[in-house]
Amino acid sequence: MVLAFKNETFRDDFTFSNSPAAIRRFPFPFVEDKYMYSVNIEPHELGPKGSVYEFPIDIDEHYVSEMRDRALVLDADPGRCQALPHMITAQWDMLELLMTSMARDYPEHFSLTRDGNQWHWINRPLGIDHKFTFGDVATLPYQPMEYIGRQCQGDFSIQDQRDGQLWMDAGIITTQADWSLDFDVGMNFFEWHAPVPLAHQAGVFDRALKFLLNMQHGRPVRRLNWTMTINSRLDTSPENYHKWGIDRTTVTPENVGDKVHLRVELQALWRLPRSNAILFSIRCYMIKMRELATVPKWGRRLPRVLRTLPDEIADYKGLTRYRQTTIDWLSKYDDGAPTSLGGGPD
């Protein structure tokens, strides 16, 4: 499939929008009319053609513009990309996984030729044509994680596994939902999840960690997480919260449809072959309320989910200030009809 890449922005004038096809394939995360944290992990199996699960790494119409935004973030704040020294093998693992997936699944856009350790990578959308030696950092313009991370949609963190724990020892994080890699780097699974309400007490993290520690190479898994964002801002980092936090006060009944976005993270996890580390991808999809409401089931379900969402979770996600305004706006799409199980459109 040849993708038509949009030219759009995720800051300043916020020209981002979804094509009708992108709306249809949006990974709507609510399988019923309510939401609570759970160990929602499933195999990362290939899904239907055209869906975000068709390939292990999903590239879409926002690719080129998202990569431009990432470069801006990294220029302004190099701390968004960090790796502890022992993670270099895992970085190469990540580069291999992403390059082989992208070249196999999007041959019109990417190609990889390998002759032993001599690799030739071509990225047509970004105009990159590069020969390098796999395993030799000196032959790349960046460390491997940053090199491929600047060319792949989604944030990535890499977790080292030792002492029965996962340690977030590397990451390239520029589109985060309000957490800081610079603060969290070097932490373990329970430590970096510390700010999350309710889930620790419910045993969610104990069970999730146990599951992840036993992950096998070649059997990736995935889950969906979600929040909401005002304006199509990808960089909702705590580092810049003093600049974007004010956006949350600008929602009015008139502008909900364009300003308020549901933000879904498709999170996939892979065991890496050489390093035994775990790669975690956080692939962010945004959809405007106006776009979302074009799918009747979603327009019905989202106001129901927001209405019944526990306050602790709403506060943690930062929705409290504009939650009711959004529910009110969406309510005209909720005719009270029952909704079918599962997230997809009917």
Binding site: F183, D184, M187, A194, P195, Y241, H242, G245, I246, R248
Partner: protein, 199 residues
């Protein structure tokens, strides 16, 4: 204290009878825990123990009496936390196998000791720690990355960029600091009063 999942647990000091050398860093409040540690251990323990005392806020006489009470352990008195950690780093740089590290006192002191240890490949969990005295915190501003020391109020003004920071219950061992996030980003016209919360 232990409800914050990213904050370490400080189980209290206990002597390591197998250590060839014990290095203890403490402040005045922590020194009381060290006195108790020495009392609990066998007679030879103190002879293998050297203490670095951060004497911040102490008068000369008070330091002297602490040194006296810690005998027969050897005690070096330093003017505050920063010189105490500098001294610790010197000790660790020339240390040999069999050294056991201890920290007793305020949380920034414990955090700084664990951090200095980690830089010298000492497992944070192997450091024996006891929290005594003030609940004051070290806070890193997530915006400008500047550190504010001896924080007792919430919110607190960032010592580097001046933003008013909410002190979150999220702690980084690597930075030995809690996270501070702009408290009035969504309400720039308000400036909440500084309430003493960590005394």
């Amino acid at each position: 204290m232990s409800t914050i999942k990213s904050r370490p647990i400080y189980p209290g000091l206990s002597p390591d009878p197998n250590a060839r050398r014990n290095v203890v860093v403490c402040d005045a409040a922590g020194a009381e825990a060290v006195v108790e540690l020495l009392a609990r251990a066998d007679g030879e323990f103190a002879g293998r123990t050297s203490v670095v005392l951060s004497s911040e806020g102490l008068f000369g006489k008070e330091s002297e009496s602490i040194v006296e009470r810690l005998k027969p352990a050897t005690v070096e008195t330093t003017a505050g936390l920063v010189p105490a950690i500098d001294r610790l780093k010197e000790i660790l740089a020339s240390a040999t196998m069999g050294l056991r590290l201890y920290a007793a006192g305020s949380e920034p002191l414990i955090g700084s000791v664990v951090q200095a240890g980690a830089e010298n490949f000492i497992d944070p969990l192997s450091v024996r720690t006891e929290h005594r005295g003030s609940l004051k915190r070290r806070v890193q501003c997530v915006h400008c990355k500047g550190m504010t020391e001896n924080v007792t109020t919430n919110p607190v003004k960032c010592a580097q960029c001046g933003l008013l920071l909410l002190v979150r219950d999220h702690y980084s061992k690597r930075l030995a600091a809690f996270q501070g996030v702009c408290i009035n980003a969504e309400t720039p016209d308000e400036s909440p009063e500084l309430k003493v919360e960590f005394q």
